[in-house]
C-alpha cells in the first residue's frame, strides 16, 4: 500500500494527464477495514473507445467505478475525466460524465417521464431542451407505453433502461455504466448497443462493466480485466485476447487451480 501511495503522489506532481484521454486513473486505491478492495490501479481510457471492464464478483469493479464517479472517496490515487480531476473539482468533472449506478434505487414514486426529466434538470439543462429529449429517450428505450407509470411498478429491466436514459439525457462526453445490460431484454439490449456504438463513433466514450464476456468481446474495442483489486490486463481487445476468446483469457487469468476441480458427486 505504501509503495503505491508514493508512486501515486509522484505521478500527481510529475505527469499531468492528457485531456484527450477520456478517463485517466492513477494509483487508485480503497481499503474497507482489513480488505483491500482496490489496490492502487492504473487505467487509461482513450477518448472515443468502447471500454469493457470485466472481473469476477467482488473483484473491485463497482468500487472502482464508484471512485471514478464521485460516489466513493478513494484512500489514495487520482481520477481525471478529460483532464478534470474528479476529486479536486467534482462538479466540473461530473458535468462531463453520464453514470449508471448498479444496484442503486431510483426515485420510484416518479413516473418514467418525470425521472428522466428530473435527471436532466438536475444537470442544469434548460427545461425546453429536456422536454424535447425525453420523448426520444423513451422511444429508443421502448418505454413509451410505460412513460406515465410510476417507476415503482417497472420491472428490473425497465428500471435499468429508464436509469440509462437518465444518464444519457445531457449527452455527456463519457458514459460510465455499471452492468447496463443486466436484466434488459435482448431487443432493447441490441438497440441500446446500437445507440452506444453510434455515440462512440461520433467521439463519445463508453465504459461498461459486465459479467458477460461474450457481450463485452462483441461490443467493446478496449478491455480491462480486474481481480482482487488489481488490473491483470488492459488495452485494446486484440492485445488482451491475443488470439484467444476473451472468456478463455479471462478464466485463465482469474481462476485459481483448486477451485476448478468441480464436484465429484454432481452427476446422474
Amino acid at each position: 500500500m505504501c509503495v503505491n501511495f508514493y508512486t501515486g503522489t509522484m505521478l500527481e506532481k510529475s505527469s499531468l494527464p492528457d485531456p484527450d484521454h477520456a478517463v485517466v486513473i492513477r494509483s487508485l486505491g480503497k481499503q474497507f477495514g482489513d480488505k483491500v478492495a482496490v489496490n492502487g490501479i492504473n487505467l487509461t481510457i482513450p477518448a472515443g473507445s468502447f471500454y469493457g471492464f470485466v472481473g469476477p464478483n467482488g473483484a473491485g469493479k463497482t468500487t472502482t467505478m464508484s471512485m471514478m464517479t464521485g460516489l466513493l472517496r478513494p484512500d489514495h490515487g487520482q481520477v481525471w475525466v478529460h483532464g478534470i480531476n474528479m476529486w479536486e473539482s467534482p462538479q466540473h468533472a461530473k458535468s462531463v460524465l453520464g453514470v449508471l449506478v448498479d444496484g442503486a434505487a431510483v426515485f420510484p414514486r416518479l413516473t418514467g417521464t418525470q425521472l428522466i426529466t428530473y435527471s436532466g434538470l438536475l444537470r442544469g439543462m434548460e427545461a425546453d431542451v429536456v422536454a424535447e429529449r425525453v420523448p426520444d429517450l423513451l422511444r429508443v428505450m421502448d418505454l413509451e407505453e410505460a412513460a406515465h407509470k410510476m417507476v415503482a411498478d417497472y420491472s428490473a429491466g425497465m428500471t435499468k433502461k429508464v436509469s440509462l436514459a437518465a444518464a444519457m439525457i445531457h449527452s455527456p462526453q463519457v458514459l460510465i455504466l455499471d452492468e447496463p445490460f443486466e436484466a434488459v431484454d435482448p431487443v432493447s439490449s441490441a438497440r441500446i448497443r446500437a445507440i452506444l456504438n453510434e455515440y462512440v463513433s461520433s467521439g463519445g466514450t463508453v465504459m461498461i462493466s459486465s459479467h458477460v464476456m461474450d457481450l463485452v468481446e462483441r461490443t467493446c474495442d478496449h478491455v480491462a480485466v480486474i481481480d482482487k483489486g488489481q488490473v491483470l490486463a488492459s488495452g485494446s481487445m486484440e492485445e488482451v485476447t491475443d488470439g484467444a476468446s476473451l472468456e478463455d483469457r479471462f478464466v485463465g487469468m482469474v481462476s485459481s487451480d483448486h477451485a476448478g476441480e468441480g464436484l465429484s458427486w454432481f452427476h446422474t
Binding site: 467534482p90 444496484g103 442503486a104 420510484p108 426529466t117 435527471s119 434538470l121 406515465h148
Partner: protein, 532 residues
C-alpha cells in the same frame, strides 16, 4: 429441519449485529426495555401473590391478567403489520425455493417464533400467571400450561394474520392505502387511552365480566389458571378444549396461507394506471426548482411522507374535537399548542430526507447537484405548504379558542418553531443518515433491532430542535403568562427574524456539510439501505 429453522432465526439476528453496531445497540436497548417490563410484571404479580385472597380477590387479579394477555396478543398482531418485512419468517414466499413441506415448515416457524427472543420474552411474561395465586399448586401448573398455549397462539395468530395480509396487499396501490389506514388508530391510541382513563372507574367494575367473555376468544388464553384458582374445574376444562381447538384452527389457516402463497407466487400484477403528464416537474427550470418540485410531489405520492400529512390531519381533528365537543377547561392549552406542535413535527419530518431517498440519492451525486440547490429545494418543498398551513392553523386556533389577545405570541411561536426547526433539519439531513424504510417497502419496516437506534437518533434530534427553538419559546411563555401584548409582539418579531436567520444559517451550513462529505454520506446511505 425444524431445529434448522429455529437456528436460522438466531443466525440471522447475529449476522445483523455483526454488520452494524448500531443495530446491536438498538437491540440491547429494546431488550432492556422489555426486561424492565417483565421485571415490573413479576413485582406486581408477587405483590398480588402475597396479598391475602380476601383483599385482592382471585376474580380481580385473574380479570386483569386475562386482559393483559389479550393486549399482548394485540401487540403481537399489530407489531408485524406496522413493522412488516422485518422478519423473513412472516412471508412464506421467502422459503418458496427450498421446497420445504408444510409438515415441517409450519412447526419450524411456530416453534422458532416461540424460542426467538420475542417469543421467549412473551413466555416469561405469561409465566407470571403461575406466580399470581400464591401457593396454589394446581394454579401454578395451569399457569405454565396457559403460558405455553398463549405463546404458541400469539406466534401462530400473528403468522396467520400477517400472512393473509401479505397475500392481500401484494398490489402497491392497496398496500399504500392500507399502511396509511393502519396508522390512524395508532396515532389516536394516545387519545383513546386518555378517554379510557377517564372512564376507568366504571370499567373496573365491569372487568371480571369482560374477562369472562374474553376468556373464550382466541385472546383469552391466560384464563386457565384463573378458572383453576377459583376451582371452576368445568370452565377450566372447557377453556382448555377451546384453546386447543383455536391452535388447531390457526394451524389449519396458516397451512392454507402457506399453500396460497406458494401457488400464487409471482402472479400478482399491477393494474393501476397513472395519469399522464409530468406535473410540477414541468414547471421547474433549474436544479433547485427540480428538487423543490420533486420534494413537493413526494409529500403526496410517497406514503412515507404522506403519513406525516395524515398525522397533521389527525392532530387537527383532535383539536377541533377538543374545542367543539369537550370544551374542557383542563385541556384548553392542548388545542392552543397544536399549531406550534404541528410546525415542530413538520420541521422535523425533513431531517430524514436523504435517508428516505435511499440509494436513489446517487442521482443527485452523479449529476453534480450543488449543496445549496439540494438544501434549498428540499426546504422549499416543505415550506411551500407547511408555512401557509401553520399560519392558517394558528389563525383558526386563535379564533376558535377566543384568544385573539394572544395572537402575536402564538403566531411568533409557530413561525419561529417551524423555521428554526427546518433550518436544523437542513443541517441534520445533510450528513446524518439513519435507517428508515427504503422506498417501496412497508411504511414502518424496521431492520432487526433497528427500532432502538431510530428512537435514539430521533429523540436526540427532537431535543436539539427544542433547544434551537428556545429563543422563541421563552418569550412566548413569558407573553402568555404575563399576558402582555408587548411581549407578544416581541415573540412575533423574534419568531420571524430568529427563525429566518436559523433557516438561512441551516441551509448554508447544510450545503457546506453536504458538499464536504458527499461520498461519505452516500456510503452510509448504502450501508443503511443494505440493512433491510
Amino acid at each position: 429441519m425444524v431445529p434448522h429453522l429455529i437456528r436460522l432465526r438466531y443466525v440471522l439476528m447475529w449476522n445483523s449485529f455483526r454488520r452494524s453496531v448500531g443495530t446491536m445497540i438498538g437491540a440491547i436497548f429494546s431488550a432492556l426495555g422489555f426486561l424492565y417490563f417483565i421485571v415490573m410484571a413479576y413485582i406486581l404479580a408477587s405483590v398480588a401473590a402475597f396479598a391475602p385472597p380476601e383483599e385482592v380477590t382471585y376474580t380481580d387479579r385473574g380479570a386483569v391478567f386475562v386482559l393483559c394477555g389479550a393486549v399482548t396478543v394485540l401487540v403481537w398482531i399489530i407489531g408485524p403489520i406496522v413493522f412488516s418485512t422485518s422478519n423473513p419468517f412472516t412471508n412464506p414466499q421467502n422459503f418458496l425455493v427450498f421446497g420445504i413441506p408444510n409438515k415441517t415448515f409450519i412447526p419450524g416457524v411456530v416453534l422458532g417464533g416461540v424460542v426467538a427472543p420475542t417469543g421467549l420474552g412473551t413466555l416469561i411474561l405469561f409465566l407470571t400467571g403461575s406466580v399470581l395465586w400464591g401457593w396454589h399448586p394446581a394454579a401454578i401448573v395451569a399457569g405454565v400450561l396457559a403460558a405455553l398455549i398463549g405463546t404458541v397462539l400469539c406466534v401462530i395468530i400473528m403468522q396467520v394474520i400477517v400472512g393473509a395480509l401479505n397475500n392481500l396487499i401484494s398490489r402497491r396501490a392497496v398496500r399504500d392505502a392500507m399502511q396509511l389506514i393502519v396508522l390512524v388508530p395508532l396515532m389516536l391510541a394516545g387519545f383513546i387511552l386518555m378517554g379510557a382513563i377517564e372512564t376507568i372507574q366504571e370499567f373496573w367494575e365491569l372487568l371480571p365480566q369482560v374477562a369472562t367473555w374474553i376468556a373464550f376468544t382466541p385472546a383469552g388464553f391466560l384464563s386457565l389458571p384463573w378458572f383453576v384458582a377459583q376451582a371452576q374445574w368445568g370452565m377450566a376444562a372447557l377453556h382448555l378444549v377451546v384453546m386447543l381447538a383455536y391452535i388447531g384452527l390457526a394451524a389449519w389457516a396458516y397451512n392454507a396461507i402457506v399453500n396460497c402463497a406458494t401457488e400464487a407466487a409471482g402472479t400478482m400484477r399491477e393494474r393501476q394506471r397513472e395519469p399522464a403528464g409530468i406535473g410540477l416537474l414541468g414547471r421547474a427550470n433549474s436544479p433547485m426548482q427540480a428538487i423543490w418540485a420533486r420534494s413537493l410531489l413526494y409529500w403526496f405520492k410517497d406514503p412515507r411522507y404522506a403519513a406525516s400529512l395524515i398525522l397533521v390531519a389527525v392532530f387537527v381533528l383532535f383539536g377541533i374535537f377538543e374545542i367543539t365537543i369537550l370544551k374542557s377547561q383542563d385541556f384548553s392549552l392542548i388545542p392552543k399548542i397544536l399549531p406550534a406542535l404541528i410546525a415542530y413535527l413538520l420541521a422535523f419530518s425533513i431531517s430524514a430526507d436523504l435517508s428516505y431517498d435511499s440509494t436513489g440519492f446517487s442521482l443527485h451525486i452523479t449529476t453534480g447537484v450543488r449543496g445549496i440547490d439540494d438544501r434549498l429545494g428540499r426546504v422549499f418543498g416543505l415550506l411551500t405548504w407547511a408555512l401557509p398551513l401553520t399560519l392558517l392553523l394558528t389563525i383558526a386556533m386563535v379564533f376558535a379558542t377566543d384568544a385573539s389577545h394572544e395572537f402575536a405570541a402564538w403566531l411568533g411561536l409557530s413561525i419561529g418553531v417551524l423555521l428554526s426547526g427546518t433550518g436544523l433539519s437542513a443541517v441534520i439531513s445533510a450528513r446524518y443518515i439513519y435507517p428508515v424504510p427504503p422506498p417501496g417497502t412497508s411504511l414502518m419496516a424496521q431492520p432487526e433491532g433497528g427500532m432502538g437506534r431510530i428512537m435514539l437518533v430521533q429523540t436526540v434530534g427532537m431535543l436539539m430542535q427544542f433547544f434551537i427553538a428556545l429563543p422563541v419559546v421563552i418569550p412566548a411563555v413569558v407573553a402568555l403568562i404575563v399576558g402582555s401584548p408587548a411581549w407578544g409582539i416581541i415573540t412575533l418579531m423574534i419568531g420571524v427574524l430568529y427563525g429566518a436567520g436559523m433557516l438561512w444559517a441551516g441551509v448554508r451550513i447544510g450545503a457546506k456539510w453536504y458538499e464536504r462529505a458527499l461520498p461519505e454520506t452516500y456510503q452510509s446511505i448504502v450501508k443503511v439501505a443494505a440493512l433491510y
